[in-house]
Symmetry: C2
Subunit: 118 residues, 2 copies
């Protein structure tokens, strides 16, 4: 369950804007605010089955978007690239600790690269 929550939250971050207003609302209540299906059903005056169906349909849509656009996968790949660069920069800083001007330039690169994937 916890794994799935992380997965859906991640997909929601990337593709939530493509869901309908109702799908977004219910998914948020269920996965982010931890409301139960019954509580959501009551809040919207709809059946538990309708809530369940909306959640399932929204999850399916999110997964389909990921299978087509792969944004989560790309995000994770980019995170790895950034981590690899950070590692390399830290190594260079350590190896050249007397060179203040170089260290400054390397720190600058680190701060620029942090803008990616934000």
């Amino acid at each position: 369950m916890f794994q799935k929550m992380i997965e859906i939250n991640m997909l929601y971050d990337f593709y939530g804007q493509l869901l309908t207003a109702r799908q977004k609302e219910i998914l948020k209540l269920y996965y982010e605010d931890n409301f139960s299906v019954s509580e959501i059903a009551e809040a919207f005056s709809i059946s538990r089955q309708a809530v369940h169906d909306t959640i399932k349909k929204a999850e399916k849509a999110l997964r389909e978007y990921e299978s087509k656009l792969g944004l989560v996968q790309k995000f994770e790949a980019t995170e790895e690239v950034i981590a690899a660069i950070d590692l390399e920069i830290n190594r260079l800083i350590k190896e050249n600790s007397q060179n203040e001007r170089l260290k400054e330039g390397l720190q600058k690169i680190k701060s620029i690269i942090d803008q990616i994937n934000e």
Copy 2:
């Protein structure tokens, strides 16, 4: 017209997978293979109006995806970040041209960063 072609091509690269098979096919013929509306109408045995409508609807869908997900905008922002880092690395290489080990490390960073936005 040329500007629009570039715009649609870019949007198609990012969101083409979200279009229907028919929309993809017609948009590709029109924007990539430079077929005329009449030629496409003939090839599919549909009216020129139907081709026109399909193109308009697909363009609208692509623009809506961009307004919701902003992938083209993010791609361009990342390109700028990468260019800024490249510039900084080139400067550091130039300033430390005697330090072979450092140069090697900086080149390595450049090659790693090129994996982003590919």
